[in-house]
Symmetry: C2
Subunit: 196 residues, 2 copies
């Protein structure tokens, strides 16, 4: 396996730090120290803390894209089952971190979108892109009469992803999967229920 | 009107700072400066930044309790209408801040619950208390056949408050009420719909 570049090592250290103490609580100096990089090397790679956070976020979302594809491209499942599969995959990831870490996209949405216009507009673009495969899957489920067609698929996709962020928020406080399981149970028996 | 105490002035400055840059991004020195308080006065009033944040949070939740009572104690409305009224009252408050500020309880849930056990357990207690009047109102709505009784009222109350946090998270990124209105529309025509 090739040795990760110093740049990647710094970005990994930044992700860990931002998960722990957020954007404002992350010090460039500490990240560089954890990555074993001289501070001059950090500033060679990233022109500001904000630009650095933006790259950490982009890398994180690249990872989320793979998880989305893993669930929503799985044609062995029905469209409605794929949506549930996604939430189950994420639940498994969150469990591996003891339900103490949520989603960096949600974390930065609340913490950094007020003070960094760069991050705010990036987060807006991320949510817009994130919605697309979910809306397509919901549209497919509606066409197959697996989900009612009372609402536009884009609206339902945004509802699903936003409410799931709320469930992860509660999970983080309670350090338990209860809010995740509650969301899945209620949402899939109401908003995303199979029409009778 | 009596002059607010220095303690109150410091707490108000702390709330504003935490709304802007979160718990980790708030400096005790800056809060004291904004409040016009010598740093020694700050440390006389609060034994640590963590204890200070805990008081800011408690004061904030005291304010939320009043908004909850304003909506859920309004017996001129049906129980289901009271739930909607609460979300509308909050929407009005968020609009007054240009949809740039969300809920401090949600903000600290994502940002501070991982690094402060004091704040995490306080947030857990807040969510547990917050649920009570909502569960009572939902139970009343269920008894009046305004809302289906497929789920326990406690579960529905937690679902409502958690998903609403998710909607506020999206609002903050988009600086728009779209996610709030989407949540209200979809939730009250599905999870909280009137049984036909």
């Amino acid at each position: 396996m090739p040795k990760p570049s110093l740049r990647d090592t710094i970005l990994d250290a930044g992700l860990k730090a931002m998960f722990r103490t957020g954007y404002h609580g992350t010090s460039v100096r500490d990240v560089a120290a954890v990555a074993g990089a001289p501070i001059g090397s950090f500033t060679n790679h990233f022109r500001s803390k904000e630009a650095f956070a933006s790259e950490v976020l982009e890398r994180y979302f690249a990872h989320v894209r793979l998880l989305v594809a893993q669930a929503l491209d799985d044609t062995s499942l029905s469209p409605r089952e794929r949506l549930q599969r996604y939430l189950d995959i994420i639940t498994g990831r969150l469990e591996a971190d003891g339900f103490a870490r949520g989603c960096l996209i949600g974390d930065l949405s609340l913490e950094a979108s007020g003070s960094s216009e760069l991050l705010r507009s990036q987060l807006e673009a991320i949510f817009a892109e994130w919605r697309v495969p979910f809306a397509a899957c919901i549209r497919e489920a509606q066409a197959a009469k697996e989900i009612a067609s009372d609402f536009d698929a884009n609206e339902l996709a945004d509802f699903l992803l936003a409410s799931w962020q709320g469930a992860m928020l509660r999970m983080k406080v309670e350090r338990s999967p209860a809010a995740l399981e509650r969301f899945k149970t209620i949402a899939f028996q109401t908003v995303f229920k199979e029409p009778s």
